[in-house]
């Protein structure tokens, strides 16, 4: 029998004192029965993880705060809908992803950036339009450029559509597999790959432009 795969986001040092799955199951059962102490224990155990996941998606502290509140209210109110078919952490991950995506859709992006502007362009014969293609990886020598590059990447990620942003965050920051992302977001694996590639081309284009070269 093929074992089920579960989403296991990376743990931080503050989460090392995890419960065994049996202890966790018992705790969830108590939450289902309305035990507030058990709910607070679940909150303490998972709040850091939920916050970090929310922050990566929504991009700011205030909205991440709203997502955390929303998610834990859902945990309390919908605990009975958790049937234990997946791990609790997987269920919680999906609740958080959905709440963060809803929040992201409500946030008005400052300006809509055309992804096409930063996509590679090709000549009719299929070769790069602008040659030579600059290899700016050699330009990054000092910490300042590294910090600057991270800032550019973060700004560019924030300019992606909610779903594209979620794909990048889940793939490159949360290190989920494409089938896991597909299941979490309700899109096909093929769509995950297509969106991830296009988003990465955009991020690459933004960085290339930042280093003073043609993004195409």
């Amino acid at each position: 029998m093929i074992p089920k795969r579960h989403i296991r986001p990376k743990k931080t040092s503050s989460e090392k004192s995890q419960l065994s799955s049996n202890e966790e199951r018992l705790l969830i059962e108590r939450v289902k029965a309305g035990d507030q102490k058990a709910f607070e224990a679940i909150f303490s155990l998972y709040v850091s993880r939920v916050y970090r996941q929310a922050l990566k998606l929504v991009g700011n502290e205030a909205d991440a705060n709203d997502v955390v509140q929303e998610v834990f209210l859902l945990v309390y109110r919908k605990a009975n809908s958790f049937l234990g078919k997946s791990e609790f952490s997987t269920w919680l991950y999906r609740l958080t992803a959905n709440a963060a995506l809803t929040k992201l859709r409500q946030i008005k992006r400052e300006k809509v950036v055309s992804l096409d502007e930063y996509m590679p362009k090709f000549r009719k014969d299929g070769h790069h339009l602008v040659r030579p293609v600059a290899d700016w990886t050699q330009d990054i020598e000092n910490l300042v450029s590294i910090m600057e590059s991270r800032q550019i990447i973060q700004q560019a990620i924030d300019q992606l559509s909610p779903i594209d942003k979620a794909v990048v965050v889940m793939s490159d920051l949360e290190e989920l597999s494409n089938p896991e992302i597909s299941k979490t977001l309700g899109i096909s694996v093929q769509a995950v790959k297509a969106r991830l590639h296009r988003a990465r081309l955009f991020l690459r284009g933004r960085l290339t432009s930042h280093f003073g070269y043609s993004p195409t």
């Binding site: 931080t12 503050s14 029965a33 309305g34 507030q36 709910f39 607070e40 909150f43 709040v47 850091s48 916050y51 970090r52 922050l55 990566k56 502290e61 705060n65 955390v68 509140q69 834990f72 209210l73 309390y76 109110r77 590679p120 090709f122 014969d125 299929g126 070769h127 790069h128 040659r131 030579p132 293609v133 600059a134 290899d135 700016w136 990886t137 990054i140 590294i146 590059s149 991270r150 990447i153 973060q154 990620i157 990048v168 490159d172 920051l173 494409n178 790959k193 991830l196 590639h197 990465r200 081309l201 991020l203 690459r204 960085l207 290339t208």
Partner: protein, 96 residues
């Protein structure tokens, strides 16, 4: 049992142009290209410094994305949210 016809295999592709190579980067990096297409992709890289530069910058972009750091939840926020939840649950009409 899975029918053979149901197993969809991607046809090996010949990589003659930069456009074709660029389309395959993601699958190449995930190690999901078949061996013939991988060989053709790498042969293209051997004769195309532009695609080598493109691949290097694509990989560096992923590296930068992976290196982004996010703050932990502030203790103050943790307390505030906990308090908010306590109050909300007390007033919750579904309170069990």
């Amino acid at each position: 049992m899975v029918n053979r016809a149901q197993v969809r295999r991607a046809k090996p592709k010949k990589v003659d142009t930069c456009k074709q190579a660029t389309t395959l980067i993601l699958t190449y990096l995930m190690g999901e290209l078949d061996s013939k297409t991988t060989r053709s992709f790498e042969e293209h890289l051997m004769i195309c410094p532009d695609c080598v530069a493109f691949l290097n910058t694509y990989k560096k972009t992923i590296q930068f994305t992976k290196s982004l750091q996010y703050d932990e939840i502030p203790n103050e926020m943790k307390k505030r949210v906990k308090e908010f939840l306590r109050n909300k649950i007390k007033l919750d009409p579904d309170n069990r």
